[in-house]
Homo-oligomer: 107 residues x 2
DNA sequence: AATGTTTATCGTAATATTGCAATAAAGAGA
DNA sequence: TCTCTTTATTGCAATATTACGATAAACATT
């Protein structure tokens, strides 16, 4: 025991949980907000902006990338990270639908 | 080490991460979707609907409740769980703002 | 009072996450 | 080539999460 029983839930539920998990840490929220604030694509400087060691930041970036929330690509000299519009769109739609369905009911 | 450095991030970032964390598990996504689908408020029956032991479901419900995503109240005989419209509204707004800011930039 | 039903909590094992120092890898510039 | 800078990876310790059996608590129904 101890491992999540992913196979017991739908693909959609697992996908949503995976994306939400990627954002379920203040450092990763901060990274996304920073990418959004500065340029939406940024080459370098993320580490200096966070109160964490370089190795830790790199790990958080990898998690965001694995979940598809950000994209990273080698641009000549540095590595550039961008927000993934598609993933953020999915999240927006999900909560949008959730809320509109909720409002149509009455408690 | 090992513990999240919450104090290094803003209250807003921590709050958002906390709500997202509450939803960052397929079982908890399934619970929210079930509450939405059936009635938005439901008294009993959640356990039977999930492929997990009763103790585990109870634990997941507690996490959702602690994060403010759902509300639970003793209604006479059973315990009724409802979605918290306010929390879901916050999530919707967050991703809505995120996406609109993103679209106004160009990569 | 005894029984059944439903939900919560405790205790515990398995697994995952968080964080960092150390080190590697890869390219830029001297 | 040697060094500097930047990002990734490895290895490890501390902590958190996930899951469940056992048990408790609260209230029905008999």
């Amino acid at each position: 025991m101890g491992a999540t029983k992913s196979d017991q839930f739908s693909d959609q539920q697992n996908e949503m949980a995976m994306m939400l998990k990627a954002l379920a840490h203040p450092a990763r929220v901060a990274i996304v907000e920073y990418l959004l604030k500065v340029e939406s694509c940024i080459c370098g400087g993320i580490v200096d902006h966070l109160p964490l060691a370089q190795a830790t930041v790199s790990q958080h970036l990898r998690e965001l990338k694995n979940a598809g929330v950000i994209q990273g690509s080698v641009e000549g000299t540095a590595i550039c990270y961008c927000l993934n519009e598609k993933a953020l769109g999915k999240l927006k739609n999900y909560f949008g639908k959730l809320e509109s369905k909720l409002k149509s009911k009455c408690c």
